[in-house]
């Protein structure tokens, strides 16, 4: 699904190297988790994959189902099936959540050459998915993320993911700021989307999310590299012992 090879990234504005040779191979139907100390480059990886400005790829590659992601515009990457649930979702005053969602869904369909979703079908789908995430109609009507609590913003990200039905979902600390119940809702939302063709990359600091979203593979990122990969037990090790030992081993 997603092949990242020897990815080197630095900031465009200053000479600061952030990713120093990331290699990842994600197969369809799998859930991968990335853990790692603050500032190790996890969010940067997700931004570079989804096409944010300000980063320069100095070497390496990233392909989604064989298509070179790095040459595409962000909207083309989205239409190709990539989705990023933001660590910090952006507020957009004056633009209704529904208007935004509908425009996103139909823009992607258009880019893929598919027919647009009718207003009726769209409404039905949103209502249904929102209900499962306990997002009420008031939140749907409000401007995008404006006045949403931290947890509501994260649930709204999952709603967008559910509506857009991407193939490759990257979740950047979607669990941060969530209370226990909200975390369950989000995990259920993710689990409902799990299937043989869809791949997840879950960035998190805590085992507790992984209790609900069981990963197939766990990667540890440090200083811009994946320093270790393993099964779910790797997350438990981090939970119990922190990163010190892992960092030592790798250096």
């Amino acid at each position: 699904m997603l092949e990242i090879k020897n990815l080197h990234v630095q900031l465009e504005e200053e000479d600061k190297k952030i990713l120093k040779g990331v290699n990842l191979s994600l197969d369809p139907g799998k859930v991968h988790a990335i853990m790692g100390p603050n500032g190790s480059g996890k969010s940067t990886l997700s931004y570079v994959l989804s096409g944010k400005k300000g980063y320069e790829v100095t070497s390496g590659s990233a392909h989604l189902e064989g298509n070179d992601l790095l040459v595409m515009d962000p909207e083309e990457r989205a239409a190709a099936g990539l989705f990023l649930a933001f660590q910090y979702p952006v507020e957009i005053p004056g633009v209704g959540n529904m208007t935004f969602l509908r425009s996103a869904v139909n823009s992607q369909r258009k880019l893929r050459g598919e027919p647009e979703m009718t207003a009726g079908d769209f409404l039905k789908a949103v209502r249904d998915k929102a209900k499962h995430l306990k997002i009420d109609s008031d939140m749907l009507k409000r401007p995008v993320n404006v006045g949403f609590s931290g947890g509501e913003k994260k649930r709204n990200e999952i709603l967008q993911m559910a509506m857009l039905e991407p193939k490759m979902c990257i979740l950047d600390e979607t669990d941060s700021g969530l209370d226990v119940d909200a975390m369950k809702l989000v995990a259920e939302g993710v689990n409902a989307l799990r299937d043989k063709k869809r791949t997840f990359l879950v960035i998190t600091h805590y085992q507790r999310l992984l209790d609900h979203i069981k990963p197939d593979i766990v990667h540890i990122m440090a200083a811009g590299r994946i320093i270790k990969s393993g099964g779910p037990e790797l997350a438990l090790e981090v939970e119990n012992n922190g990163y010190a030992k892992l960092l030592e081993e790798s250096s």
């Binding site: 990023l84 957009i92 996103a104 992607q108």
Partner: protein
């Protein structure tokens, strides 16, 4: 400002002499007084303080050289929602004006022949007050020469908005003067759509007596016109005055709004948004005078500029001695979609009372990259994402509009404008 009158103005004033012959006393008095103001003040010059950013020439030159055909392709407010009164090339088209419960509507040309009229206490009177401290001779010229306009006396709560819909074609050069008097406890919404003339000089004088409400929505969406408008408002005790203008077309527009808060505990809002390209030049010049205590005034302006267009904002809050507990707010912002466009802002506060809160701010900015990336990462193409963020920018000004239905209609209009441009 004293300059000799140019040929065009002298012609207009001479024309006025003919008009005077058929005018009733109240109207004659108002016109003569206004003509005197024009003669003593002269016409605006480029060097005048409040004409520093917008050159007055286009409103003064004798010849106008546009050829416009204006039937706005975008219908904003459905006919059922309002009482519509039509103008074409600056001339009232209705043989019979609608009977609207809660108010009376007359045409200026009919009322002009009477010797006495209620409008005599308003017509040219608020405009005259508004000449101090800043001269607005082109408004006085309007009073001296206008023969078209509506006189609306609001005596009760008018349910449906009254909408003046203007279309024009060819090279019409029009002068319009409307009077609205909202009597004690009365309530009305006035909507203006379309455009009165290829070049138009429009004056609106609005008197709001105590406990009254005046809401005003104006749409300026002509293609190639020069529009100069003035609103003069006098607001009594415990009243509300709100005016919102959306400009989405035209070449040169200057909207002046001069409000005088003369009664305690009132609220006024003057707001607007504009979207323009290339030769578009849009000027909002606002002067709010707090002459009474415990009043709130807001000025909220948003300008979206692209491809070399120019936005101007000159806004003043004057708080007179004794106008304690004044709450004055002013914000003007531009969204510059490229490096060629410019926003020129001159915010001013002048305060002679000690117990007041006044704030003002002015910003110029580009599209927010974080938000743009967020939208694009969801599959929204760049151009569409910029439109959504433009809408988001303008929406904040539209929030000043009292009625949710009208605010929605304005948002829908902005969406449509962004889609076709």
């Amino acid at each position: 400002m004293a300059s000799s009158l140019r040929g065009d103005t002298a012609d207009r004033l001479r024309l006025n002499e003919n008009l005077l012959a058929t005018s009733g006393q109240w109207f004659k008095n108002a016109r003569l007084a206004a003509a005197e103001r024009v003669e003593s003040q002269g016409l605006p010059q480029r060097r005048d303080e409040y004409w520093g950013y917008t050159q007055p020439d286009a409103f003064l030159q004798k010849k106008i050289d546009f050829d416009v055909d204006l039937n706005s392709p975008l219908e904003l407010f459905s006919k059922e929602l309002s009482e519509v009164i039509n103008y074409k090339n600056g001339i009232l088209q209705e043989k019979k004006l609608p009977a609207i419960p809660g108010c009376s509507v007359e045409s200026l040309s009919d009322a002009a022949t009477l010797d006495n009229h209620w409008a005599g206490t308003v017509f040219g009177k608020l405009e005259a007050v508004g000449q101090i401290p800043v001269q607005r001779s082109l408004a006085a010229l309007n009073t001296a020469t206008a023969s078209q306009g509506l006189l609306i006396l609001v005596t009760g709560k008018v349910k449906k908005p009254i909408r003046i819909n203007a279309v024009c074609e060819g090279t019409s050069d029009t002068i319009i003067h409307h009077i609205i008097k909202v009597e004690r406890g009365a309530n009305v919404t006035l909507i203006e759509t379309g455009q009165y003339g290829a070049r138009a000089n429009v004056v609106l004088e609005v008197e709001v007596e105590g406990d009254g409400t005046f809401n005003h929505i104006r749409m300026q969406n002509g293609h190639e016109h020069n529009a100069l408008t003035h609103i003069f408002g006098r607001i009594g005790t415990n009243s509300t005055f709100k005016s919102f203008t959306l400009t989405s077309g035209g070449r040169l527009t200057r909207n002046e709004c001069i409000l005088d808060l003369v009664g305690d505990s009132s609220r006024v809002s003057v707001a607007g948004a504009c979207i323009g390209d290339e030769k578009f030049h849009h000027d909002d010049t606002v002067f709010v005078t707090h002459n009474a205590a415990n009043c709130e005034s807001r000025q909220v302006f948003k300008k979206v500029l692209r491809d070399g267009s120019v936005g101007v904002f000159q806004g003043k809050i004057l708080v007179k001695a004794g106008a304690q507990k004044t709450d004055g707010y002013q914000i003007s912002q531009s969204l510059l979609l490229d490096d060629n466009s410019q926003f020129l802002a001159k915010p001013e506060l002048e305060i002679y009372a000690d117990d007041v809160v006044c704030s003002h701010g002015s910003t110029s900015g580009a599209i927010d990259e974080e938000a743009l990336f967020y939208l694009r990462s969801r599959g929204v193409p760049k151009a569409k994402a910029i439109d959504l963020l433009t809408l988001s920018f303008i929406a904040e000004a539209i929030q000043e509009v009292e009625s949710p239905e009208l605010a929605d209609a304005l948002l829908a209009h902005v969406t449509a404008v962004l889609e076709v441009r």
